[in-house]
Symmetry: C2
Subunit: 224 residues, 2 copies
C-alpha cells in the first residue's frame, strides 16, 4: 500500500479503519485533502456534498440559515469531532442543509463525499459509523431546540455568558450583542434588553470591550 | 419455525426481515405484542425503552415536553411509519426523550426494545435500518425547527390551517386555539391574536365549532 499522510489521523478518528481493505484505505487517502481555513471562511455552504470534515485544529461552527438570513448555531466541532452532515451524499435520509464555518483559524482533513459514500455502501461498519455520528448530532440539535423554545431568555443568556466565561477563562465576554444573539438564535434587541436588565441589577457591566460578569453567583442562580 | 402472527406485517415494515435467521425472527415475534390504544393514551413517556412502535391503524403524535409542561409536536406517524425514538436502548447516541401519544384510536405492534437491541448489535442490516429511521426523523425535526424559529407567525398559521383542511377534507378546522397553539409549538395568545387578524381580514371565521376557512386563496398566498 502506498504511503498515506492521513493514516495516523484516520486510525484515531475512524473506528472502522482497521477493518478496511488496503484498496479502500488507499481510496480514502487519495480522496482526502488537508486544508487550512482562516477564521470566518465558509467551509461548506450546504449546496453540494463537500465530504466528511475532520478538524485537526481550530473550531468549526455548524448553523442553519433562514431565507431572510437569520442564523441559528446548532453546535460547534473541535479536534476529535467529525462533521458528517456536510456529506449529504453519504446520508440519503438527511434532507436539510447546514452551513459550516471556520470559527477560528482551522486545519481540517476533508474526505471526498463520493469516495466515502461508495465505501459506506459496501462496508456496513462505515455506514453504521456515519449514521451514528449523525444521530449523535441529532441529540445536540434537540438540546439546542429545547434551549431556544422552552427556556426563558434570562436563563438562556445567563447560561451563555457563564459558558463563554468558562470556555475563554475570562470574566469578560468579548462579543457584540449581535454576535451573542446570533449564537443564541435570538434577536439583538432581545439580548440588548436583557443585558440592560442584568446591568441594572449589577449582575454584569456592559462596556465597549464586552460584557463583564460582575456577579457570577447570581448568574448561576438564574442558570439553574 | 413456530407460527408468528406478525410475519406479514414485519415482512412489509422491516427490509431486513428476509436476512434474519429463523431464531432471530422467532425472538422478534415472541417479543412483540399488538396493542389497541384509545385516542389520547400515552404510549411512550420517555422514561424507559418501550421498544419499536409500528402503527397499523390510527395516528401517533411524537412531541417534546418542557419542565414547565410546554409541548412541541415534532411529527406524526401513520400506518407505514415506524417509531424508533421510543427504543432508546437500540440507539445509544440518542440522549433526548420524546413522548408518544395516540392521537386517534390506534392499533400498534410493539417490538420489545431489548430483543430488538440485541439483534441490532449482531446484524448490521438491523442496526443500519434503526439508525436510518432515526436520521430520517432528524430531517423532520430540522424542518419543524425551521418553521418555528424562522417563519413568521401568519405564514405558519396559514400553512397549518391549509394542511389541516387538506388532511381532514373539510374547510372547518375543528380545533381549539389551545390545540392549534400546541400543534404549532406556539402560545394560545399568539394564535388567538393571529386568528382575530385573519378574521378581521375575512380570511377565516372563528366560530364555536372551529375555524372556518373563508378565503383559501389568500391563505395560500400567505403560506408561500
Amino acid at each position: 500500500m502506498e504511503s498515506c499522510p492521513f493514516t495516523s489521523i484516520y486510525q484515531n478518528y475512524f473506528p472502522f479503519w482497521d477493518h478496511l481493505s488496503d484498496s479502500d484505505r488507499a481510496t480514502l487517502c487519495r480522496s482526502s485533502v488537508s486544508v487550512q481555513y482562516p477564521k470566518g471562511t465558509t467551509i461548506h455552504d450546504g449546496s453540494i456534498c463537500t465530504g466528511v470534515i475532520i478538524p485537526t485544529s481550530g473550531c468549526l461552527r455548524i448553523y442553519m440559515l433562514s431565507e431572510e438570513g437569520k442564523e441559528i448555531t446548532l453546535y460547534r466541532l473541535y479536534p476529535g469531532d467529525i462533521c458528517i452532515l456536510s456529506a449529504s451524499c453519504v446520508l440519503h435520509s438527511i434532507t436539510f442543509d447546514v452551513i459550516v464555518d471556520a470559527e477560528e483559524d482551522s486545519t481540517c482533513c476533508v474526505v471526498g463525499g463520493c469516495a466515502f459514500a461508495d465505501i459506506s455502501e459496501r462496508v456496513p461498519e462505515v455506514k453504521i459509523f456515519a449514521l451514528e455520528t449523525a444521530v449523535a448530532r441529532f441529540s445536540d440539535v434537540m438540546w439546542i431546540m429545547q434551549q431556544i423554545l422552552f427556556m426563558s431568555m434570562d436563563k438562556r443568556l445567563a447560561i451563555f455568558l457563564l459558558d463563554e466565561a468558562a470556555k475563554t477563562g475570562s470574566d469578560t465576554v468579548k462579543l457584540t450583542h449581535e454576535q451573542i444573539a446570533r449564537y443564541m438564535g435570538s434577536a439583538r434587541e432581545v439580548v440588548t434588553r436583557m443585558l440592560k436588565y442584568f446591568s441594572s441589577e449589577k449582575i454584569v457591566e456592559v462596556t465597549r470591550k464586552g460584557v463583564i460578569l460582575l456577579d457570577k453567583t447570581r448568574l448561576r442562580r438564574l442558570a439553574v
